[in-house]
């Protein structure tokens, strides 16, 4: 179990590197442009901490790094998702049960803190479809697709919460970086179990000012 968790996080760190330019460009459209850096550096710190503490529960390690050390608002919110995934993996021996409970509790915590509703163009828009797919008993591949589709659908939304709410219409047409960044976690879980719905690059939008990822 610990090995699985560690592999998911290492895959997520690779995904954040692959998506870094895209996430940065998306965040520059609507925020201060540091989300790609924060996610990539946070996950690099997580993998370093996993190397240093191979016996600690991996999602709990990720939770402390993201809650204590990652900047911005999105980083600590992702830390809350890891915190609940860690608790759920302690409580449930079945991997699907743990993800269902952890995603549900993580989403609830993120909504309590950020006060965002579905449709507000935040990471909640990726987590709600992922939670729904998990509740319906879907496997890692379907859950990843649901999260990615939820993230892509934010391209049609105008922000009401978060920093993007200040720029309004300007970011419409492109997905919310926080939603896409969280969806990458569900893609990484599927990839770690060899059930990924294709390569990650297929799911990264082309943003003006960036080269399409290789």
């Amino acid at each position: 179990m610990t090995t699985d968790q560690s592999l998911v996080l290492r895959t997520y760190a690779d995904a954040a590197r692959t998506a870094h330019a895209t996430l940065t460009a998306l965040d520059q459209l609507s925020g201060d442009g540091d989300f790609g850096d924060n996610l990539r550096e946070g996950l690099d710190r997580v993998t370093a901490a996993l190397d240093a503490h191979p016996d600690r529960p991996p999602y709990a390690v990720a939770a402390s790094v993201f809650l204590d050390e990652v900047g911005g608002t999105s980083g600590p919110l992702i830390g809350l998702l890891f915190q609940e995934l860690a608790r759920a993996h302690e409580a449930h021996s079945d991997e699907r049960d743990a993800w269902r409970a952890g995603t549900g509790e993580g989403l609830a915590a993120i909504q309590r803190v950020g006060e965002a509703e579905p449709g507000d163009r935040t990471m909640v828009d990726a987590l709600v479809p992922a939670r729904d797919a998990l509740e319906a008993g879907s496997g890692p591949r379907e859950v990843a697709l649901a999260a990615l589709e939820g993230a892509h659908a934010t391209a049609a939304l105008r922000a009401r919460r978060g920093r993007a709410s200040y720029v309004g219409q300007r970011a419409v047409g492109f997905p919310d970086p926080g939603a896409l960044g969280v969806a990458l976690l569900f893609w990484s879980r599927a990839r770690a179990r060899k059930e990924a719905p294709g390569e990650l690059t297929v799911y990264l939008p082309t943003v003006p000012g960036t080269e399409p990822p290789a």
Binding site: L67, D68, T73, P76, L77, G79, L80, Q83, E84, R87, A109, R112, V113, G114, E115, R160, R161
Partner: protein
């Protein structure tokens, strides 16, 4: 030249060292992460009271840590929210058998960082609730989801909650009371000169001669309106009437805070207080408790704010209950 007498490196940390050294019997300073805790607490208290927010509003919040008020305060950088880890560690340090109550001024950053800390505490099994202070009338009618800002009423809410906590009230009871204290409070603030921008050293914004910023907050942001200075009496009367009119269902008894925004002198604040008291008296409002001084400034802004809290009879004991903190005045028995 920077008019602020602050060290270039870690000014907040240096100031907290100075505060703790000035009040060794009252406070303990914790440096990693940064927060301040009270050395004493009433034996009946079952809930830890924790507040915090950006620095530059001293004595808020660290000056109100001590027996009878806050158990811990968490300072951010100047005008910036504290990190969730500071709130989390401070809350763990002072949690009572019934948990922790967070007193949070209504600003997005503070709400999120206290909120994240609350989720971490819940995961640890520590019960936690929040009281949101949102008294600033200038931000009432805007078409945003963010609501009124939290300003001067924070010190009144913290005193009332401290008194209530020392009666042995439980967490849910205190959270409900705190929400009522906040709901009964309204403020308005005016500025004649901006505060110094800490990084540049000059005025944060310029005001044309003869004008005032009406409806400023405590982070040096400009107000929604710039007005001609109407003269001392008309200005103070306008503000007094505005706050008194906005008070929810009043009992005829109020708490009054005449608060300096940093550079306004006590000579001015007492003159303002005299005028406000007269106007409130004419309206038939009895001032059951009052504070006059610099309690919630915006660094060194020149200006003042008025806050009223509609006082319920059973709240008066919380206001008059003893408190021993660096900055809250000793209670006066006779009125």
């Amino acid at each position: 030249m920077n008019r602020l007498f602050l060290p270039a490196e870690t000014p907040v940390e240096q100031a907290l060292h100075g505060l703790a050294a000035a009040h060794p019997g009252l406070l303990d300073l914790h440096e990693d992460p940064l927060y301040v805790t009270a050395r004493e607490r009433h034996p009946a208290r079952r809930v830890g009271l924790v507040s915090g927010g950006g620095s530059g509003h001293e004595p808020l919040h660290t000056g109100f840590v001590g027996a009878g008020m806050l158990d811990a305060a968490v300072p951010g950088r100047i005008f910036a929210s504290p990190h969730n880890r500071q709130v989390y560690e401070a809350s763990k340090a002072v949690a009572g058998p019934e948990g922790v109550l967070h007193v949070v001024k209504n600003y997005t950053g503070d709400r999120i960082n206290f909120g994240i800390a609350a989720e971490r505490l819940r995961a640890d099994g520590i019960p936690v609730r929040r009281v949101l202070v949102d008294d600033d009338l200038a931000t009432e009618s805007e078409e945003t989801a963010t609501g009124r800002r939290g300003t001067g009423a924070t010190v009144l809410v913290e005193k009332l909650l401290g008194g209530a906590a020392d009666t042995g009230a439980g967490l849910d009871e205190l959270a409900a009371l705190g929400a009522e204290f906040a709901a009964a409070s309204r403020s308005v603030a005016v500025a004649a000169r901006a505060q110094t921008a800490p990084s540049r050293g000059g005025e944060a914004f310029a005001l044309p001669d003869g004008t005032l910023e009406y409806g400023v907050g405590i982070h040096g942001e400009r107000a929604a309106t710039t007005v001609e200075h109407p003269g001392f009496e008309r200005l103070v009367d306008r503000m007094t009437e505005q706050v008194a009119d906005a008070l929810p269902a009043t009992t005829g008894s109020v708490l009054l805070l005449v608060n300096g925004l940093g550079a306004t002198t006590l000579l001015e604040l007492y003159a303002i207080h005299a005028r406000v008291s007269e106007t409130l008296g004419k309206r038939g409002l009895e001032v059951a408790g009052r504070l006059v001084g610099t309690f919630v400034p915006a660094l060194d802004m020149s200006g003042f704010s008025l806050t009223l809290t509609a006082l319920r009879e059973d709240w008066a004991a919380h206001w008059h209950a003893p408190a021993r903190t660096p900055a809250f005045p000793a209670p006066e028995s006779a009125r």
